[in-house]
């Protein structure tokens, strides 16, 4: 028997910076059951959410959806560590709310990654320089130490680094 495709999903997140103070992140989640769009506006330098909009184009959940009001609860929250817990608490945990929380999380993740991208992509390729580069990064942000396999005590990148 050939394997049958029974479900597919595409989840795309993009981040734009239309001006110095604004970042716009949007998430589009489409799968066999759902088609959801979400966009958040974030203001720098505090990264607080200043605006949010969402649209349910297709959903398997029975909807009585006042998603507009639900979404507005997160205005003022700052993008950063712990935001997922905050927005879950503010928005709720019904099936559709969970999907929306997830998508906001994706948007926020995208914003953080758009910053880390610059740092990570400028890491040198030369082995020794690469080690110095990451060692220095961990010294500046001790929470990164042992935060993944590449930055674990066993990794050559962490040679000679004292656990914080």
């Amino acid at each position: 028997m050939t394997d049958i495709l029974c479900f597919s999903r595409n989840n795309a997140t993009t981040v734009e910076q239309p001006d110095e103070q604004t970042m716009v992140s949007s998430c589009c989640l489409q799968d066999t059951l759902t088609d959801l769009r979400l966009v958040i506006h974030v203001k720098t330098p505090h990264l607080e959410i200043t605006n949010i909009a969402g649209e349910i184009r297709r959903s398997s959940e029975p909807e009585d959806l006042r998603i507009h009001e639900t979404l507005r609860k997160v205005i003022g929250v700052r993008v950063g560590p712990g935001i997922k817990k905050i927005i879950t608490g503010l928005m709720g945990t019904s099936a559709i709310e969970k999907k929306l929380v997830f998508m906001i999380g994706e948007c926020c993740n995208g914003i953080i990654l758009s910053f880390t991208k610059q740092v990570l992509l400028s890491a040198p390729e030369d082995k020794e320089k690469e080690r110095d580069y990451f060692a220095n990064m961990v010294k500046n942000s001790p929470r990164l130490y042992n935060s993944c396999a590449a930055l674990s005590p066993e990794s050559p990148l962490m040679d000679g680094i004292e656990p914080p």
């Binding site: 049958i4 479900f7 997140t13 981040v15 740092v119 500046n140």
Partner: protein, 380 residues
């Protein structure tokens, strides 16, 4: 202009009645990865997993791949599944592998639902999904310290420089009441006593310690054990003292403030800039002056300016902000492991023997944060 994009694709095939094959692909400006997972039905257990990099961040990223095996045996519908993936796969392997794995599993849950619905339509008897959309219970199960912990470490306290005041670690998490902590109360007390702290304050996440339990603990351990509460708000985590209401939701900080004022309590903004100056986010141009404008500072009585979970830079920044706002600064370890207790603490002048006196002292303003471990290390 686009500054970042990430695309994730998940395709799910039905191998037979008992196995789903899930293929996930993640592509973004930094990473490229692929993953093949097989998941059994109807229990939705991960039976095998393979992953590979197509583009990575550094030369050591391949180390992440073998650790994916840690996820074998995980059940998608089990309580705490997502947290386990984040904690185990995310930290031992790589958080981006954890991200695509969760995307795959989330889609697999939906796929199982589709299959079930189709089976029903065809009149086949099929398995039922245990309400797959049930929220994971993040509720803190507060069990109170067990007897063994209480009996351990009954040795007499070593007094920690009372001449210079009372040194208390104001931010400590116990495994008894914080799911994220691995530090049993008894061990924390032993360690705190050994390094010469005068007291610790239990600030478990959204947890209220019964004042009677605390009094009993102080007596049993012959050590100053105080109760506080680290409450999650829309404006971040707050250390709250002199407030006994059990809060089980994310509260708006202005609302919390009103409640705390009524009970005569005290609020400290915990690690207000955690993660804010690390990495490229440091390039945001957040100055202490701008940071002072954050609405949260209107509602707090003090700022935690020494916390061991943030970078030195973030601590220094908090200090500048507190100073600029003329708010007192405190120190606490935010220990989640026994070894971390006392890294930072707060030195009080005067006597504190219970929660009321702690709040009085906090309001009095006669205290200062200190890097306690470094200081005793220097003395030795």
């Amino acid at each position: 202009m686009l500054t970042f994009s990430r695309n994730k694709l998940v395709s799910i095939y039905r191998k037979d009645d008992r196995i789903l094959l899930v293929r996930g692909i993640l592509e973004d400006d930094i990473y490229g990865m692929e993953m093949d997972i097989s998941i059994s039905m109807p229990d939705l257990e991960i039976v095998s997993i393979q992953g590979k990099w197509t583009r990575m961040e550094n030369s050591e990223c391949p180390r992440a791949v073998p650790f994916l095996q840690e996820a074998v045996g995980f059940r998608l519908l089990e309580d705490g599944f997502r947290q386990r993936v984040k904690k185990i796969v995310g930290r031992k392997s790589c958080r981006h592998f954890a991200n695509i794995l969760l995307e795959c599993c989330d889609a697999a849950e939906d796929a199982a639902e589709v299959i079930r619905a189709e089976g029903e339509k065809e009149g086949k008897g099929t398995f039922t999904l245990q309400n797959s959309l049930e929220e994971e219970k993040e509720a803190v199960i507060a069990t109170g310290p067990d007897k063994d912990d209480l009996d351990r470490s009954m040795a007499k306290p070593v007094k920690g420089g009372s001449a210079e005041g009372l040194v208390i670690d104001l931010h400590v998490h116990t495994s008894e009441a914080s799911p994220c902590s691995s530090a049993p109360l008894g061990d924390l007390v032993t360690k705190a006593r050994r390094i010469g702290l005068d007291g610790i304050c239990l600030t478990d996440h959204n947890h209220v310690w019964d004042p009677r339990t605390l009094a009993e603990l102080r007596e049993r351990h012959d050590f100053l054990i105080l109760g506080g509460n680290e409450i999650a708000t829309d404006q971040g985590d707050m250390l709250v003292f002199g407030f006994d209401e059990d809060i089980n939701e994310i509260m708006r900080l202005d609302k919390l403030k009103k409640k705390v004022v009524k009970t005569g309590g005290f609020i400290i903004a915990a690690h207000p800039f955690r993660g804010f100056l690390t990495f490229g986010i440091g390039q945001l141009g957040l100055t202490p002056e701008k940071a002072m404008e954050r609405p949260l500072f209107k509602h707090v009585d003090a700022v935690e300016v020494l916390n061991s979970k943030v970078s030195d830079k973030e601590n220094r920044f908090s200090s500048q902000v507190a100073e600029g706002l003329d708010l007192p600064g405190t120190g606490g370890s935010d220990a989640h492991e026994v070894e971390e207790v006392g890294v930072y603490a707060t030195r009080f002048s005067g006597v504190i023997t219970n929660e009321e006196e702690l709040v009085e002292a906090l309001k009095g303003g006669n205290y200062s944060p200190l890097a306690f471990r470094a200081e005793i290390g220097a003395k030795e």
